[in-house]
């Protein structure tokens, strides 16, 4: 769960930084590091959603595939299931 929380935050913030960079200064260093970091966090979100100890499938795993906000949606789905 902790992994999913971190990965979800990184997924969203890196994309925000990348888009902000694209629209403003477009510094190559930000793209070079932010792009792969966003990619790895996208994969990490999906992996974390599948590794989360949930016994009943409730759509959290499929939500993780949604770009940018998939991690947050998966987190919410898992929390709803707990509560």
């Amino acid at each position: 769960m902790r992994l999913l929380r971190i990965a979800a935050a990184v997924e969203l913030t890196t994309l925000a930084v990348l888009i902000a960079n694209l629209l403003t200064v477009h510094a190559k260093a930000v793209t070079t590091f932010g792009g792969p970091l966003h990619g790895i966090s996208y994969v990490a979100v999906i992996a974390a959603a599948y590794l989360a100890p949930s016994t009943s499938p409730n759509g959290a795993r499929w939500r993780a595939f949604i770009p940018a906000i998939g991690g947050l949606l998966a987190l919410r789905a898992l929390h709803t299931q707990e509560g």
């Binding site: 990619g39 994969v43 990490a44 999906i46 599948y50």
Partner: protein, 147 residues
């Protein structure tokens, strides 16, 4: 100095964490409970299942250190790094979306040898992906400074 530290973390993590998860996925079908075969044990299978998960999560340090190193060295964009990152993503998705859930199914409801064969196959693909990545790391095709 920073490059040496990153490379050490990258290689050590690759050997210990990725190697550990690769060994656990390979051995799981051998020890998972099934009708036939000697030496099968539920507790061993559960341990391998946990190693598969725990070491794969810790293995996240390997691409993180590798990517940081590539950026520090200005190598990001070289073809061998790009292919390695794609293969790493494929291996990670294979482990998380196929191998780990199928292991859980086998532990919850043992007895189907077909599932174990499929897990063996996936473990083979997982290991092969890492073998290719290691070769890419050594040969470095497309590297500016040569292999």
């Amino acid at each position: 100095m920073l490059e040496h530290a990153l490379l050490s973390v990258h290689v050590l993590g690759g050997i210990v964490f990725v190697g550990g998860s690769a060994a656990a996925t390979s051995l799981f079908p051998r020890y998972a409970p099934a009708a036939a075969g000697e030496g099968r044990s539920l507790s061993v299978a559960v341990a391998l299942h946990r190693i598969t998960r725990g070491y794969a999560v810790l293995g996240l340090t390997v691409p993180l250190a590798g990517m940081t190193l590539a950026v520090v060295q200005g190598r990001m964009g070289e073809i061998w790094i790009t292919i390695s990152m794609i293969l790493t993503a494929v291996a990670a998705l294979l482990l998380a979306t196929q191998i780990y859930p199928r292991q859980r199914q086998v532990l919850a409801d043992p007895g189907d040898p077909g599932r174990l064969r499929l897990l063996s196959m996936f473990a083979g693909v997982y290991n092969l992906a890492w073998a290719v990545v290691v070769v890419l790391m050594i040969v470095r095709p497309g590297s500016g400074q040569g292999g």
